[in-house]
């Protein structure tokens, strides 16, 4: 069977050799189409990688915040058992169930409160204490984010190690706010980290829970994953469990969604050149069927069935497609390296030095799957374009064909 296919392939190659120029032109046509599509997609991928890189450099991508969510109309609370469940999700390296609340200082400074186990939150957020120490569990001690600590020390006379009164806001039966004062002891101030925890007041969870009566479950679970590639997977698992998953990685998801659309639109425009390539194949094959009418008639008289004739034409198309696809891949690789070697410095010189971080090392990114897809598209395209010529060839009347 495969030996036969080899025979037919050899014959097809010989037939193509008899019209080298036209084959070359057709192959070029397909190659340009493939290169155009691969080129635009690779440029889009390059931009996508750049955007993702930029986000990654400036944010904490491996942190996920799981909050109570909805799945199929059911609301899910975060209970101690769901925290256990979350811990067992693959790639989760640390987690901390937290309670959120907001207190105010006596000067009415807003204090976003996070109640957590001291060890868990230190691990998940990789907390570093700059002055003082971490709070101990079961106490009324607190640590403050860098910004908040600085502010309270400077403007409200807060001192590390001395009790500091804060107001818990409650509402009475008529709905009027009623503040209740409690005393906490700030024992440490964290190093700056450029995120929202810089302005947080972090306390022992039991303390926050006691002040926040009547709440079931936790407000959120902070989750740390191994690396940024695993984040999306963990987030997906969490959503499947019925939780909402949020974090900086969402920006990447948004970029990806956006770039998917942009690349698709690019590719559709470039795809027009593929259609032209396909029409070229169809045209070449129509002419070649016409030119080989006599040979086809003779072959039929010698025992070729309609299927054999179709296969002859389609094999030629397949060869054209493979050659065009390979040439297109080569062209797109060349295009991409020209873009990276010549285009990138050019663009950077136009944009100025402050953009040098942009387009890290490549402007255009070609991946092996893209190359395989390019070849696949070329082959599918050529076979599709060959269907009609092949059909026409197979329907030739052998006697008429031999007479031509």
């Amino acid at each position: 069977m495969s030996a036969m296919l080899l025979d037919h392939l050899t014959l097809a190659i010989r037939r193509l050799k008899t019209r080298k120029v036209r084959v070359l032109l057709t192959v070029l046509g397909i190659a340009i189409g493939i290169a155009a599509v691969l080129g635009t997609v690779s440029l889009g991928e390059g931009i996508r990688m750049q955007a993702v890189e930029t986000i990654r450099a400036s944010s904490d991508l491996t942190l996920i915040e799981a909050t109570p969510g909805n799945l199929d109309g059911t609301s899910y609370l975060i209970t101690p058992s769901s925290v256990e469940h979350i811990r067992s999700v693959p790639y989760v390296t640390a987690s901390s169930a937290i309670l959120k609340d907001s207190y105010a200082s006596q000067h009415q400074t807003y204090l976003p409160v996070i109640g957590a186990d001291d060890e868990e939150i230190s691990k998940v957020l990789d907390l570093r204490v700059e002055t003082g120490r971490m709070y101990t569990s079961g106490s009324a001690e607190a640590v403050l984010g860098a910004d908040l600590g600085e502010y309270l020390r400077r403007y409200e006379g807060m001192q590390i190690g001395s009790p500091f009164p804060v107001m818990v806001r409650e509402y009475d039966d008529e709905g009027r706010p009623r503040d209740r004062e409690i005393a906490i002891t700030p024992v440490g101030i964290l190093s700056p980290r450029d995120d929202r925890y810089d302005s947080a007041l972090i306390l022992d969870r039991e303390l926050v829970a006691a002040e926040k009566s009547g709440q079931q479950g936790f407000d959120a679970v902070l989750i740390r994953t191994g690396d940024h590639l695993e984040v999306a997977e963990v987030a997906g698992d969490l959503r499947e469990l019925g939780f909402s998953a949020g974090g900086a990685f969402e920006q990447i998801e948004a970029v990806n969604r956006f770039m998917d659309v942009v690349i698709l639109i690019f590719a559709i425009f470039a795809g027009v050149s593929l259609v032209v390539g396909g029409l070229m194949i169809a045209n070449t094959m129509m002419i070649s069927v016409y030119e080989q009418t006599r040979e086809i008639g003779i072959s039929m008289a010698l025992g070729a069935a309609e299927g054999d004739v179709m296969r002859m034409v389609l094999l030629e198309c397949l060869l054209l497609g493979i050659m065009g696809g390979v040439a297109g891949i080569a062209a797109s690789l060349a295009f991409s390296s020209v873009l990276n070697v010549v285009g990138r410095p050019l663009l950077l010189s136009r944009l100025g030095g402050e953009f040098s971080g942009l387009f890290g090392d490549s402007l255009s990114v070609i991946t092996p799957p893209m190359l395989i897809a390019g070849l696949g598209i070329a082959i599918v395209l050529s076979l599709l374009s060959g269907i009609y010529p092949a059909y026409r060839a197979a329907r030739l009347d052998p006697i008429e064909a031999m007479r031509s």
Partner: protein, 221 residues
């Protein structure tokens, strides 16, 4: 002797109304070499095309080895072309892009014969038609007579029951023609393959076992 083929009242009317065959009845025995003699336009080619499954009759019956050929069944017709018949044409009809031996091998590709088998069979046949020295030559490098010898080898390569030859010497001078006819006679004797040879050359026809004469789509004698 067993009957190889029989035609009964075979009609072929072209769309323009021309009755190319108007009730032809012929019988042929296995191993016979029959010539069919007729003027130009008498219907010889049409008859051979029907026998070879390249055309279909509009009436009458064609049987091979006692079984009627169903022209409506494409698979049956393909098998008929592959298994029973070999063609020789006036224009030789070799494929120009292939060497002599490749031309002879070509029909076997559609029959799924492996390459080495094809090659050895083609070589033996080319030797038999006296072309062992021209195996790798392309058709354009061969004389008319040599081309027709290649075509004869090609017609025989699939071991057909019958070779249908449509004016095989029409494009050849008389000496070469005589050589081709002798070759066909020799192969007929040695291999027992039947030949059905259309011609308008009386001398050539006379060397057959039997002559059928056709005129205006009817058998005359």
């Amino acid at each position: 002797m067993t009957t190889l083929l029989s035609l009964e009242g075979v009609m072929r009317v072209y769309q323009n109304g021309v009755k190319a065959l108007d009730g032809v009845s012929v019988n042929m025995e296995r191993g016979e070499l029959v010539s069919i003699l007729g003027k130009s336009g008498s219907g010889k080619s049409t008859l051979l095309h029907i026998l070879g499954g390249l055309d279909r009759p509009d009436g009458g019956m064609v049987s091979f080895e006692g079984r009627e050929l169903n022209f409506r069944n494409r698979d049956e017709i393909i098998m008929h072309r592959r298994k029973r018949v070999g063609f020789i044409f006036q224009q030789f009809n070799l494929l120009p892009s292939m060497t002599a031996i490749e031309n002879v091998e070509y029909p076997l590709i559609f029959r799924g014969v492996p390459r080495s088998d094809r090659h050895s069979r083609a070589r033996v046949l080319l030797e038999q038609v006296g072309l062992s020295g021209r195996i790798e030559h392309y058709p354009k490098e061969l004389s008319g007579g040599e081309q027709q010898r290649v075509a004869i080898a090609r017609a025989l390569v699939s071991d057909p029951l019958i070779v249908l030859a449509d004016e095989p010497t029409g494009n050849l001078d008389s000496a070469t023609s005589a050589g081709i006819v002798s070759l066909m006679r020799e192969i007929n004797r040695e291999r027992g393959v039947s030949f059905f040879i259309a011609t308008h050359d009386r001398d050539l026809a006379a060397r057959a076992d039997r002559i059928c004469t056709i005129a205006d789509g009817r058998m005359v004698a």
